[in-house]
Symmetry: D2
Amino acid sequence: MISAAVLPAPGQRIEVRSFDRPRLEQGAVLLKTLGSEVCGTDTHLAKGQLAGVPYPIIPGHVSVGMVDEIGVGAGGAPVLDVDGEPIAAGQVVTFLDVYGNCGRCWYCTVGHATTRCPSRKVYGVTLSADDGLLGGWSEFIYLRPEVHIIPLPAELQWRAFLSAGCGMPTALHAVTLAEVDFGDTDVIQGAGPVGLSAAVLAQLRGAGQVVMVGGPEVRLAAAKRFGADVVIDIARTTEDDRLSAVRDLTRGRGADITIEATGVPSAVPEGMRLTRDAGRYIVVGQYTNVGDTSFNPHLDLNQKHLEIRGCWGSDVGHLYRSVHVMAKYAKQFRWTDLISGEYDLAHAQDALDDVAAQRVVKALIVP
Amino acid sequence: MISAAVLPAPGQRIEVRSFDRPRLEQGAVLLKTLGSEVCGTDTHLAKGQLAGVPYPIIPGHVSVGMVDEIGVGAGGAPVLDVDGEPIAAGQVVTFLDVYGNCGRCWYCTVGHATTRCPSRKVYGVTLSADDGLLGGWSEFIYLRPEVHIIPLPAELQWRAFLSAGCGMPTALHAVTLAEVDFGDTDVIQGAGPVGLSAAVLAQLRGAGQVVMVGGPEVRLAAAKRFGADVVIDIARTTEDDRLSAVRDLTRGRGADITIEATGVPSAVPEGMRLTRDAGRYIVVGQYTNVGDTSFNPHLDLNQKHLEIRGCWGSDVGHLYRSVHVMAKYAKQFRWTDLISGEYDLAHAQDALDDVAAQRVVKALIVP
Amino acid sequence: MISAAVLPAPGQRIEVRSFDRPRLEQGAVLLKTLGSEVCGTDTHLAKGQLAGVPYPIIPGHVSVGMVDEIGVGAGGAPVLDVDGEPIAAGQVVTFLDVYGNCGRCWYCTVGHATTRCPSRKVYGVTLSADDGLLGGWSEFIYLRPEVHIIPLPAELQWRAFLSAGCGMPTALHAVTLAEVDFGDTDVIQGAGPVGLSAAVLAQLRGAGQVVMVGGPEVRLAAAKRFGADVVIDIARTTEDDRLSAVRDLTRGRGADITIEATGVPSAVPEGMRLTRDAGRYIVVGQYTNVGDTSFNPHLDLNQKHLEIRGCWGSDVGHLYRSVHVMAKYAKQFRWTDLISGEYDLAHAQDALDDVAAQRVVKALIVP
Amino acid sequence: MISAAVLPAPGQRIEVRSFDRPRLEQGAVLLKTLGSEVCGTDTHLAKGQLAGVPYPIIPGHVSVGMVDEIGVGAGGAPVLDVDGEPIAAGQVVTFLDVYGNCGRCWYCTVGHATTRCPSRKVYGVTLSADDGLLGGWSEFIYLRPEVHIIPLPAELQWRAFLSAGCGMPTALHAVTLAEVDFGDTDVIQGAGPVGLSAAVLAQLRGAGQVVMVGGPEVRLAAAKRFGADVVIDIARTTEDDRLSAVRDLTRGRGADITIEATGVPSAVPEGMRLTRDAGRYIVVGQYTNVGDTSFNPHLDLNQKHLEIRGCWGSDVGHLYRSVHVMAKYAKQFRWTDLISGEYDLAHAQDALDDVAAQRVVKALIVP
């Protein structure tokens, strides 16, 4: 029997349940889980703040496992990774939690909006525990044939890869959209895993100055360790203070690039003001609907000649690139410093509580 | 003596004053005015809604004139147009109202934000009548040596060029930023000269469908004549009606591109909603501060993966390209149909009143 | 029985063969062919100049047909078009000749190079007549379940759509890559269907001046009818003449954008020279290997700060956008003027001969 | 009296000459030279391979000096740096060797091709020693009023800044144009200062793998120290070997990005082949005309869907960004390791000889 942590319904506590070992269809892969992450989305799932979630679910969307079994039928073709190489038993791999882009709808074929295909399914979020081991907080994970698999290079330990969880591909998407220019001043709003990953990636874009606006203290300290030049604690400053601080750092101009990773609506107009005229502002943190905010279209947008880009989800390329970036720069950035807690399945509820309370930077489930 | 229409101060009426014929410095050009436009900015100037205006001023920023005199000193170099050709007496030319980009500040040299140089001066707006004939509502216009001059090609009559006034280069900047893809559905909010120009330019970008949202009737009729496939009268519809209408025209997706040219803050969140997921929204009409508006960062921006671009001012290239586009497509689009009133200097106040009341599409001052 | 024109092997003549009416699998569609095009690729196929072609084949890659039968099994889902609407019997549709992008390889998922997936199959080119009615020169065409189907709008007659054949989506891809700016001077090298389509699309990008360099006379006359401002006959000019002519049209600078659609290697260095410093050059016509050419990397590329973009194939979006652009601008451009010959199946060989000899602009097969 | 190294004419040896201390015009600045670089262009100047050079010249285009005197007349405005801050005596500054962009020609105003303005002048290259101290191999450098001045931040020592000389802004321009995506494999052709700078900057763009193709040994060793993952010695490999090696490193695909920095024409078709389908190739090293080369437009360009960008010169932004990038990452990259020789004015000829023989990575003139 296989144990997995199950979220039965919104507002209920996580419980460990037993599952039969699944029989693999052609092209499927069974992973023995090494670790899975706990992220802010999991706290939203626990509260029922996302629409269309088929509870009960096994949470855990970004995960790493060792290939335990491969569903190759008689005369079947090998299962291939994203690079086209055959998957082998014993390999340590990750996979994109999102799969099932249809390749046929308007968004897939004409719009080329890879994260807006309505057919997408998400491990740990939109797949029910009634349908199998389709989340990472489990001893084993069942990868359906359409899932995109990426082996971890030898130089990237699985804990290192998981240290920012889905924060890294999310931030990589955002920082790519940001089109950072060499020497830019980049302001990051929000010091959670997405914001911290963005602070690192901004340096891997050649930013001249990285300014982290966030909190609490433990996360700002992590930002400093990971190369932020300046940190500004939102608990000790007003919006005006922060605007003055950023202007002082930029000869009065404001940030060339600002990246929002907070989830707080009022951060958005503030971010518009922190950005210089003709700068660029990426909004990646508004993942759930927690209300409206107001701004001045003349002053904050039009006269500023400001560009704002909403950034939703990540695709295979963002995960693939995250793996390769984290491998290459593993000596420069001590990724595992981001992990401040590991929990077994029996303590998954504690992990969730610690993340919700921002007591940790990143929590892992290690079954 | 030279007559010019002068706006003495905010809230006062236009009056005709007399000026001496100026003595030309090296590199300056004196134009005998053929026509100048009246635009929404002029109504803001009359009410004192712009900061930093050195009243009294001679209004009129986009104008056409015949070269009357050229300030070439002894052994002086010829005065050149943007293409590097010498200016000749008798030529019919226009010029960019904005001049004086310093070429030295951070915005000019590093940011390449051509419309954000703080040294820019604007004919008819930031230059005082006390300093000379520095606006278009005048029998003659004095072009300082730094002004960028563009001759009109033979196939573009001066009235045709002036028919959209500054609306054309403004819209050309906006539609360029919009990066319209072939076959896109483009929604234009606002049926004034900027919006109508955008409706035409969207077709000259290969839009598959142009939808004009605006009013009043006279302007929507112009939009239809200029190729809009669908017009939606804001006076007869609610925001929900408009959203439904645009969705019905786009298989439920919303506009690929939306361009705001209204000046009304609430149009901005509406435009975000009219645009499809992963679409692009250009905000070019919020030229003065008339207050705040509110939106939902999750629904209207982040989850939509929406891109928003504020668009401020226009540069030499936008005007140069406007001239060449209007010349090439003068047979396809009857530009002069946009002009619904011509006024001499003595009736400049009437022109201003008619524009403020939206009784005309475009008014010209013809001294 | 169903008749189709078959190319048995390279160097052999087209012959009409009979096929059984196929039984439709779930999701397949059978089209009654209205028309199919003959293009330059077909002449290459006849000579055996493409690798990997599984002769015998039914040629014809861009085609239009009426939906005759839909493969919907018991309880089967409807077959959807690219917009997500159900296909209905009697509809007039086209389809992308290329299908079978895997959605899993590196090019599909990471590189987002939609036309470089190695799994792609092409109707009329890489599918054998032994496997069914998989080309357009046939009374019926069998659309496999993966094929992307696009209905023609009511305002676009099927002959109008077919008038440029695959030349239109190919050119639409190239002109999109060209990033034409408003008012640009665009030089098109080659007056075949790709070049002529590019000349039209350049105008639907707001080009200020379109210059066609090509031949023979019949095609240059078509270019003029379709809005080219200047045509230059390659049979009556030297490379130096053409360079001088383009410089004279552009104040000595050269073309802002040049698009190559010739298939002749020496056209490529010439196109580099025809383009201005910091301009852009699109190479779309070098579809088969007919040898090398030489150029000067310092003068022709580096010092010019020139950008060159090779453009290969087209994807669903290019075809979808072609359909919508051709529909919208059908009044402005008389598409059917491009068609200079229609042939039934029995005369398909004549069509091929006429295209090879450049005796026609576009030839259609109408079974 | 002020000493400066002068190149009297092509083919002649450098000689030290004496100059009077100049009288400063309003807005000019006199620098006491700390150091100046010797670059490949200087060896071309010595041989007379560049057109339009007004010999005798004082070579040295990228330099650092201490502000010795400022030309501020009575009531004169302060001289400002690029950030708009007043220049002060005693500051350590660099400046862009290129100045005099007219701000009025078509390239400046419409084309926005900042490095193609025909009015540009270049310190150490297109300014004569007869007109003053207009090159860096001199005890003092006279900065004309139009010159763009950039102070070095405290954390960037002047030797560190000069360690790659003009190679850094040149490479920064090239790597910016390359649009490196996170995790890309970047191949750099050429291990001189431009290539080595590009290898560093590729890492500051988040490249996943940097492959240096070049020589000799001393330069490849520097490439390894500066983070290249793989180096390939052109002296020990054939073109086929190199193509195999790059394919082996990239799952058979080829480089995502290739940057040419060799000056050898045959490197260009090789670079096209080293790059993957739908990849991007930047050609920045072909600074002088040393002949033609040949390629196959079908295989090397069109079918590959390859993008090639010639990259010419650098502008104020590239230098400004170089300064800020080098300051921020001075702890990560030991810039001064690139310097392998310092020479006083009397030994400037030796410096030139050592650079021509590739005996050094970077040589400095320290007066």
